[in-house]
Point group: C2
Chain length 134, copies 2
DNA sequence: CTGCATCCGATCGGATACTG
DNA sequence: CAGTATCCGATCGGATGCAG
C-alpha cells in the first residue's frame, strides 16, 4: 500500500482533515453511541444506556449534546419521549464505524468471535452494498 | 444506507468489534501519530513532535509504547537513532485514516481547504488504488 | 421508567524542566 | 536526538438525587 514518500493530496490541506474530524468523534463513547443509533436502531436515552455497558448518564447526556451541536444528531421530540436521529452528517460516520468493525473482526477475532476466526465484512454482512474506498 | 431494523452480522459478536478496536486507537493523538508514520513518512520522535502541533513528549512517549505493546508499531533501532515502523496491523489502520480524511474533506471543507470546497478521496488522491469496503 | 443535575475521587492530558 | 520526571488542571467515571 505504501511507498517511502509522503502521500500528498492533489490539493494541499490547510488543516489536517483527520484532526478536524476528530472533535467529538474522537472522544470516549462517541462512536459507540453512533453505533447504537445507526446500527442497532436504539435511539432513546435509557436504551442507549442499556446497549452500552459502562456508559453513565452524565457522559451520555454530555455526548448527545455535543453530537447534536456538531451536527451529527437531531433531537426528535415525539409524544412524551425523546428520540435521537442521525443527520446526513451522522449517517456519513457509519462507513467509518464499518471500518472499525472490519478492523476488529480481523485483528481482535479472539475477543469478537466465539470461534476466534477472523472474518471480513463481506462475510459478516453479505447483503451490504459495497462502495469503493481505499 | 439504512433500514429501520438493526444491522446484524451473519455470525454473532461476542464483543463489539468497534469497542475492542478502540483501545489505544481511541485515545487522543493516536490516529495522528499513525498518520505521521504511515502517510507523512515521519518516523522519528522529534519529527513526529514537529509534525503534530500540540503533542507533548510525555504523551508521544506514552502512545508510542502503547502502540508498540498493542502491535501497531515496531521500534527500530538503527545506528545512533530510533525509528518507528508500522507493523502489518498498523498498516491496516491506514484505511481507517483515509476514512477520516474522506469525512473531513466532505464535512469540514471550510477548515480543510483554502477554497472551502468539499472534495472526495478520488479527487484528492487520483492514483490511489481503490478497494471495495462498505 | 426517562432524562438529566450534582458532587467527588480517579485518571488523563498539558506545561515545563531536565537527562543520557 | 529520544525520551523521563514532576506538577497541575481538565476530563472521566461512579454514586446519588430528582422532576416529569
Amino acid at each position: 500500500m505504501l511507498s517511502e514518500k509522503p502521500l500528498l493530496p492533489s490539493v494541499p490541506f490547510r488543516e489536517c482533515p483527520i484532526q478536524v474530524s476528530l472533535g467529538v468523534l474522537g472522544r470516549k463513547w462517541t462512536m459507540l453511541i453512533l453505533r447504537d443509533i445507526g446500527f442497532l436502531k436504539v435511539d432513546r436515552f435509557n436504551q442507549i444506556m442499556r446497549a452500552t455497558p459502562g456508559l453513565t448518564p452524565r457522559i451520555l447526556s454530555l455526548r448527545l449534546s455535543q453530537l447534536e451541536e456538531a451536527g451529527f444528531l437531531r433531537r426528535v421530540e415525539t409524544d412524551h419521549s425523546v428520540r435521537w436521529a442521525l443527520t446526513d452528517k451522522g449517517e456519513d460516520t457509519l462507513p467509518l464505524l464499518l471500518g472499525f468493525i472490519e478492523f476488529g473482526s480481523k485483528w481482535n477475532a479472539d475477543e469478537v468471535f466465539e470461534d476466534k476466526r477472523p472474518r471480513r465484512l463481506s462475510e459478516l454482512f453479505p447483503g451490504l452494498p459495497l462502495r469503493k474506498v481505499a
